[in-house]
Structure formats: structure tokens, C-alpha cells
């Protein structure tokens, strides 16, 4: 307890200078905001290094090794390089929009961290009761920055990248929002802290109830962040660098920061909604129940960060495993698979909740513990729900497989049929040979 004394000590010191309202609603939130911003920027710097290292290890290379031991100071060197580069603005660019776009990207990515519950109690800045809606609404503002950047650059590559990214983000936004509804049916709230509380009160992860929802959310989240294998807006081989082709120096680094911060946001929401957030078994019993409140918060914070880094490793892992999708395949997955699957998921989760409620009291079975603070199920209820979740996964797959069977691969089958019908006469040249003179 002695180690965490400074938090209470600082609180008492602040109360000597300010009123209780000022301390609770101005000073502490300010400290939280500063901490979170430094945490996220620190993550961006670390991610730069980690991504290069992970990619190197997956390709049996070493990665950055020269700056500091094992190249650990490489992000600092990169940062200094970016800050000292020329801030280039193309001729005939729309200067104001060109200036503003990166700031919109960074702001949209960073504002979301207001509602992300890093831990219980003081580890969340603001627990909005519309938390999840806020996340979806603000993070989709990020696409505006990409469109503005692409449009104002006065470059064909930038414009094409921006158009691609807007089309992609709009298609995947729908599936992302719809996939969360299934989990919300169990939590019965939009506040992210309450979603975690619903899971810790029931001591289960919603991943078990909602395997399909988690898969859809993860895929559409990766697509939303324009990460590989969905990185068509910045496809190097086709579009140079996509929407930030014309950006350099500090403004480019802002886009970079926004991309990695958006990664953290999507991972944080995935962890909160599906992986139990900061909840871990025995942590509450070993710390809070014995009176170590601050220790409880800090251990929960670490649990959250560990889960978060698991999802972020998955990002790197997928990036260096899968090749990029073709554009029609991207739209195919978005519109033919993910959106119908998320709609079916809403239906199947509603049906499964109905089934569990109907089973309560049938032949003496007890499935529902209570309905306060989300849906609390007994052991039997959990088992039934997990089975129903897996069944929903299978049913959705079979249904969509049947529906999309004819239209797979951009209707390649009908194309092949057309090719078969073409009958080129063989042995006869298309252009008759001209008799040579003399």
C-alpha cells in the first residue's frame, strides 16, 4: 500500500488548494488526459519499433540494430528525422485543407480514448452512458481526414487512395456497428465500463457467447484501420502511398500516429466488449477485497494492457502473413459476407437469449441468475449460451455459403462459362498474310 500512497497524498494536497469539485472534475481529469496521451504516443513510438522487429523476426531478419542496444532508440531517431525534414506542400494544393487534414485524423483517433476503460475507478477518464456509440461516431470521423488529405493534395494517387479508403471504411463501418449489437444484448448497456462490469459480474467473456460477433468485429476493425490485408488505400505497389503520398515530415508523422492510435482504439473496444476488458479472475478477490484499492486498479490496468497487446500482436501477425486483397474481393467480403453475417448474428443472438429465457423454469432448469446489471446466467445457462453461439456461427456460415455460392469471386463462374462459349477458329491466322512483292 505504501507504494501507491502518492495518489491519495496528491489528492489531499490538491484539496488544500482547490475545492473538491475542481479537483474531481478539472485537475484529475487533466492528469488522466495527459497520462493517456503520453501513453498512446509512447505506444506509437513503441509500435514503430515493434512492428519492424516482428516483421524482421517473421522473415528471419534482425530488424533495426544500430541505434542503441538492439536498435531500441530507433523510434527517437526516426522522430528526429521526420521533424527535421522539409514540410513539403505541392503546387496548386488546397493549402488550408492540406494543413488541417492530419490534425483531424489525430484528433479523431485520440478523442476516443476518453471513454476507453483502461481499468476500474480512476483509470477511465469519462464513463459516458453512450460510450460505444461515441467510439463508433468519433472514429468514423477519421475517414473525413483521409478524404480531405487525398482531395487537397492535387495528386491522382492521393485522390484514388482517399476514394478507396472512404468506400472501404463506409462498407466496413456497417458490419462493425451491427456486430456489436449481439454483445450489447447481453450487457444491456452502451457504457464501456458497465459492459466490463457485466462480464466480470458474470465472470465470463462475451467472446464465448459471441464468437461470430468477435470475428466480424475483428475483421471489420482491421479493415477500418486500413491495415494489411485490407491496406488498399495505401497499397504501395499501386498507389505509391495512397492518401498521404504528398505529405512529408511532421504532417506525415501525424497520419502515422493516427493510424496506430486507431489500431489501439479498435483493439481496446474488442478487448472491452469481447475479452472482458480489465476483468481477470482472482484479481478482485486478492486485492480489492483485502482493501488495496489502488493496487486493484493498477493490476486491472496491466491486465487490460496485456489483452490489448495480444490483439495488437495479431495485427502485426496478420499483416506479415496475408497478402493484400483485390479490390473486388474486399467489397465482396464486406457486402456479401460481413454485413449479412452481422445481421444474422443479431437474429441468432436474440433467438438464443429467447431460448435461454424460455428454458428458465422448464423441467426445473435454472438458467438465469438475475437481470440486474446485464444478463446474469447460471452455469447451465452459460453452457447453453456457448453452444448456441457456436451453433449460430455454423448456421451463419452454411447460410451465407449457400447464398453466396453462385456469386463467389466476383461472379467468376459466369465469366468462365462465357469463356468456354468463345470458340476461336484454330490454325487460321486472324489477319491474312500479305503477299510480299518481288
Amino acid at each position: 500500500m505504501l507504494f501507491f500512497l502518492p495518489i491519495d497524498f496528491v489528492d489531499q494536497m490538491l484539496l488544500k488548494f482547490f475545492s473538491a469539485d475542481t479537483v474531481n472534475h478539472v485537475v484529475w481529469p487533466f492528469i488522466q488526459v495527459v497520462l493517456v496521451i503520453s501513453l498512446v504516443t509512447g505506444w506509437v513510438a513503441a509500435a514503430n519499433y515493434l512492428e519492424r522487429k516482428v516483421s524482421a523476426f517473421m522473415q528471419a531478419r534482425l530488424g533495426p540494430m544500430r541505434v542503441g542496444p538492439w536498435g531500441i532508440l530507433q523510434p527517437i531517431a526516426d522522430g528526429i528525422k521526420l521533424l527535421t525534414k522539409e514540410d513539403f506542400i505541392p503546387d496548386k494544393a488546397d493549402r488550408w485543407i492540406f494543413f488541417i487534414a492530419p490534425y483531424i485524423a489525430v484528433a479523431a483517433a485520440f478523442i476516443v480514448f476518453v471513454v476507453v476503460p483502461f481499468g476500474p475507478d480512476w483509470a477511465v477518464i469519462a464513463d459516458l452512458n453512450i460510450g460505444l456509440l461515441f467510439v463508433l461516431a468519433v472514429s468514423s470521423v477519421g475517414v473525413l481526414a483521409l478524404i480531405l488529405a487525398g482531395w487537397s493534395s492535387n495528386s491522382k494517387y492521393s485522390l484514388l487512395g482517399a476514394l478507396r479508403s472512404s468506400a472501404q471504411m463506409i462498407s466496413y463501418e456497417v458490419a462493425m456497428g451491427l456486430s456489436l449489437i449481439g454483445a450489447l444484448m447481453f450487457a444491456r448497456t452502451l457504457s464501456l465500463s458497465s459492459i466490463v462490469n457485466a462480464q466480470s459480474g458474470d465472470s465470463i467473456w462475451f467472446l464465448l457467447y459471441q464468437p461470430l460477433g468477435f470475428l466480424i468485429f475483428l475483421v471489420s476493425g482491421i479493415a477500418e484501420n486500413n491495415r494489411a490485408p485490407f491496406d488498399l488505400p495505401e497499397a504501395e505497389s499501386e498507389l505509391v502511398a495512397g492518401f498521404h503520398t504528398e505529405y512529408s515530415g511532421f504532417r506525415w508523422s501525424l497520419f502515422f500516429m493516427a493510424e496506430y492510435a486507431a489500431m489501439v482504439v479498435v483493439s481496446a473496444v474488442a478487448v472491452t466488449v469481447y475479452l472482458g476488458g480489465w476483468y481477470f479472475p482472482f484479481v478482485y478477490r486478492l486485492t480489492e477485497a483485502k482493501g488495496y484499492h489502488n493496487l486493484y486498479v493498477i493490476v486491472s490496468l496491466l491486465v487490460f494492457l496485456v489483452k490489448l497487446s495480444g490483439i495488437l500482436y495479431l495485427y502485426f501477425w496478420l499483416r506479415w502473413t496475408l497478402p493484400r486483397f483485390r479490390y473486388d474481393q474486399l467489397m465482396d467480403i464486406g457486402w456479401k459476407w460481413l454485413i449479412p453475417a452481422s445481421l444474422i448474428n443479431v437474429g441468432t443472438s436474440a433467438i438464443s437469449i429467447f431460448v435461454v429465457q424460455a428454458l428458465d423454469g422448464w423441467r426445473g432448469m435454472k438458467t438465469i441468475e438475475s437481470l440486474s446489471g446485464g444478463l446474469n446466467l447460471t452455469g447451465t445457462g452459460k453452457g447453453v449460451m456457448i453452444v448456441l453461439g457456436l451453433a449460430g456461427l455454423g448456421v451463419t456460415g452454411l447460410l451465407l455459403g449457400r447464398i453466396n455460392w453462385r456469386s463467389r469471386d466476383f461472379n467468376l463462374k459466369s465469366q468462365r462459362r462465357n469463356i468456354r462459349l468463345v470458340n476461336i477458329p484454330q490454325g487460321k491466322p486472324a489477319v491474312p498474310a500479305v503477299a510480299s512483292e518481288g
Binding site: A56, A60, L62, W317, T321, I419, R420
Partner: protein, 177 residues
Amino acid sequence: MPLVKVPKPKFIEKVQRFFMVDLLRGLRLTLKYNIGALTGSDPVAGKGIYTEQYPKVRPDVAPRFHGAPRLNMDPETHDTLCIACNLCAIACPEDCIDVIPLDIEIMVAGKPRKKKVLDEFIFDTSRCMFCALCQEACPTYCLELTQDFELATYSRAGFVWNREMLEQGRETVKYTR
């Protein structure tokens, strides 16, 4: 007449596609490489990382690699082993060796005799193809192609090595880890 032959997928292929087995296989492969790099073990070659950190760590060249030439000296007297026989210059297909002898008078059993000794040895590494025929021809194992491979210089004249460079070796920057 079909121009494109489309094989019908078997049932097992359909199932594999449905469960994304290939994706999981790819993920397993990259994870295996990642873990192999961290633990320093690889199922293929027994090491996880294949990168050589060249200036700091010298690479292992092949045992039969031929590099920079060297004139060996007698380890006891530190006289050159070269007898200026010119065999290496004759053996050289590129004519990149010039042996310049010097006639000196010595007394052998009280009688003055002439002896040919080495005065200067010119080796043009820019024309050398490192075939090591000179090394084969040398009767006293004096001329030898070592495994040193850093032969780059700033000028054409730097490629021409004289006797001192051949005997002492060229000075290069040594990096440490």
C-alpha cells in the same frame, strides 16, 4: 471447346476453404519463424536469424574462397620466401603480376657469385580474377590468396599493390561490436 479448364473443388477442399485452413496454416508458419528468431532455433537450419551484421561481425566465407593476395615471410627470420623465379607471373592468365628481381653478389665458398633476389612485387588486384594459379605455381608457398575480401579503394591506383602492401597487408578500419 473449353479454353480454361476449371477443376471442380473436392468436398474436402470446400471444407478447408470454409474453415480458412490455409489462413491458419500461414499464421502458424509466421509464428513459427517469429518464435524461432526469438529462441535462436529454426527447423530448417538450426538458427533463427540469417542476417549478418557485417562491419561489426565478420562473415564466415567459404573455405575455398580466394581473396586478397599476400606474400608470406619466413616466420623465424622474417625474410621473404620469394625467390623471384617469376613462375607466378608466367602462370597468371591476366598478366597482373610483375616480379622485379635484383642481382646481388654474394660469396659462396669463398667465390663471388651472383644471386637473384626479390626487389619489388607488383600485383594488380583490379585485373586479378582470383583463380589462384599463381598460388599453385609458387614453389616456396610464398604467394597466397587469403580470405580477406575488402579490396575496394578510392582510386584505380589503389588497386595496384606493391611488395610492402603484399607483405604487411592493407590497413582497414576495424569495427567492434
